[in-house]
Amino acid sequence: MFNYAFRRLLSTIPVLWIAITACFFVLRLAPGGPFDGERPLPEAIKQNLAAHYNLDKSLFEQYIIYLGNLLQGDLGPSFINQDFTVAEQLLVGLPYTLIIGGMAFFLSIVLGITAGILGSVYRNGIPDYLIGTVILIGLVLPNFLVAPILQLFFGLKLEWLPVGGWGGGALSHIVLPVVVLALPHIARISRLTRGAMIEVMHSNFIRTARSKGLGGGSIVWRHALKPTLTPVVSYLGPAASYLLTGSLVVETIFGLPGIGRYFINAALNRDYGMVLGTVVFYMILIVVLNLIVDILYAWLDPRVRSR
């Protein structure tokens, strides 16, 4: 088990390296430098700036420097907001994103799996249809549509919840963003769980378990749950990355100071340094999450480990 985890860890390093390299070069090969603004800067200042940001060195040297800095946790400078480095800005935003994202992740897994199991156990019964309808809403309504509708309903009409802002992390401020972020994933996870559970319950080893006289609970929990969760777990990696992209919208709509908003602002302002830094940071985050998912997967299925 430990061996397996270690091997997976090793294999993520080239993944990260390739991704970072690709981002770096795509961004550097872009037409126009970061200082070609509307107002042309004097040549001397431009050169000073270039020297300061190592832009006068060859592309390859810049790349090496960037990688070196990255290893020390330095994501490079922001080109617009020059008082703070990218890492500093991200650190400010990170807690908000992590809290919202983490809660949404947790909520999607718990509600999604529960709904999926209920749906499969009461297959074609009333719970199944109720859950199915909610799931359909989650699948079809994009978050940028759900968010304003919920804001209108709970915030403005009922005045139960605030429309936006962090509010010091009060639960009332967090509820809407988390629900909006989690809804599509609750839907997908429960669909996956339901389908997988139905298939597993038809498999031979469940028939064996039933022939052994085990009760329904024991069959579902001991025998059916783990294989049911395998497809769910393999969805968690992509889900983490969907959650991060979802947080871009949610943070913008609800006015939350997370990294998603920094990223959108930086992108709209063409702050290359910040954009590159954020993307690299996101990738590290997601690759780590995927690593965790992989290990979880191996725990669920002993056959994976021995491979």
Binding site: V15, I18, A19, C23, V26, L27, A30, P31, L136, L139, V140, L141, P142, F144, L145, A147, P148, Q151, L152, L156, G195, I198, E199, H202, G237, P238, S241, Y242, L244, T245, L248, V249, T252, I253, F263, I264, A267, L268, R270, Y272, V275, T278, V279, Y282, M283, I286, V287, N290
Partner: protein
């Protein structure tokens, strides 16, 4: 008549006194029959068809244009009398015209991006699956990597760098949505390749190209159609998402996502600006989803 006679002649020459061959039903025809029995899917096909007809033909029957303001009607609520059935926006532009135009753009993006993703995904997956071995391993590892990365960030990155070009947007979305298609096609190709009828074809002296086109491709069609159908709504959402954030379609052009973004800002005062485009988007997504699901159930006739 002549046709029938000719056919009979062939039959008689082929086998005297034999009964006429019974026409068989292919798996594909079976699947279509199952699809037709699926009410949700049939209704969805009709809805989608109507939506497409509206979006394409509608603008010719409306006296307004998607970008010119009607100076007599700013912020007009929907009404039948003034001809603005869906109302107008802050700039006096007819919302019906804009919604139909936005639907067109969204559909066009979805179509082009889907074609791009199908072409890349099918060729990539088919090559990986057919060649197999180390090539396959390397190619699929790459797909895994891409899967793990938040690809919308890449699209945003590309939009930032290369400017907000609509066609670039199509290509970028398509070029990043091919991953699932590649995985599915590769898996299918691998399993088809191991089927005995491929060996039988090789034993019958068929060359590689003939095997690929006569035996592998026809058996891939089902899954490609299913997943292409499931890709379209995803792309519609991605396009709307990007437009919503301000990285997609820009004024004066518009798409459903842009319209929804605009509508959401003024939801309290001009609610129709959100509701009508939202309704179009939801109907579009819902019917695509049902069609995709229906196709999957029809082709994969297991008990679900």
């Amino acid at each position: 008549m002549i046709f029938r006679k000719a056919k009979l002649a062939i039959l008689e020459s082929a086998m005297e006194g034999a009964a006429e061959p019974v026409p068989g039903r292919s798996l594909f025809q079976d699947a279509v029959a199952r699809l037709i029995r699926n009410k949700a899917a049939v209704v969805s096909v009709v809805m989608l068809f109507l939506l497409i007809v509206f979006a394409i033909a509608g603008p010719w029957f409306i006296p307004y244009n998607y970008e010119d303001p009607d100076w007599a009607a700013f912020r007009a609520p929907p009404s039948l009398e003034n001809g603005h059935w869906f109302g107008t926006d802050q700039n006096g532009r007819d919302l019906l015209a804009r919604t139909l135009f936005g639907t067109r753009v969204s559909l066009l993006v979805a179509l082009i991006a889907t074609v791009v993703s199908v072409v890349i995904g099918v060729s990539y997956g088919a090559i990986a699956g057919y060649v197999g071995g180390r090539v396959d391993q390397a190619m699929m590892r790459f797909v895994d990597i891409m899967y793990a990365l938040p690809y919308i960030l890449f699209v945003i990155l590309l939009m930032v760098i290369f400017g907000r070009n609509v066609f670039l947007l199509f290509a970028a979305i398509g070029a990043l949505e091919w991953l699932t298609m590649a995985r599915i096609v590769r898996g299918q190709t691998l399993s088809i390749k191991q089927r005995e009828y491929i060996e039988a074809a090789r034993a019958s002296g068929l060359g590689t190209t003939a095997i690929i086109f006569r035996h592998i491709v026809p058996n891939l069609v089902g899954s490609v159609v299913i997943y292409a159908t499931l890709t379209i709504p995803e792309i519609v959402v991605v396009e709307s998402f990007l437009s919503y954030l301000g990285f997609g379609i820009q004024e004066p052009l518009t798409s459903l996502g842009t319209l929804i973004a605009e509508g959401a800002d003024v939801l309290e005062v001009l609610p129709w600006l959100l509701w009508f485009p939202a309704a179009f988007l939801v109907v579009l997504l819902l019917s695509l989803l049902f069609i995709g699901d229906g196709l999957r159930d029809a082709f994969d006739a297991r008990d679900r």
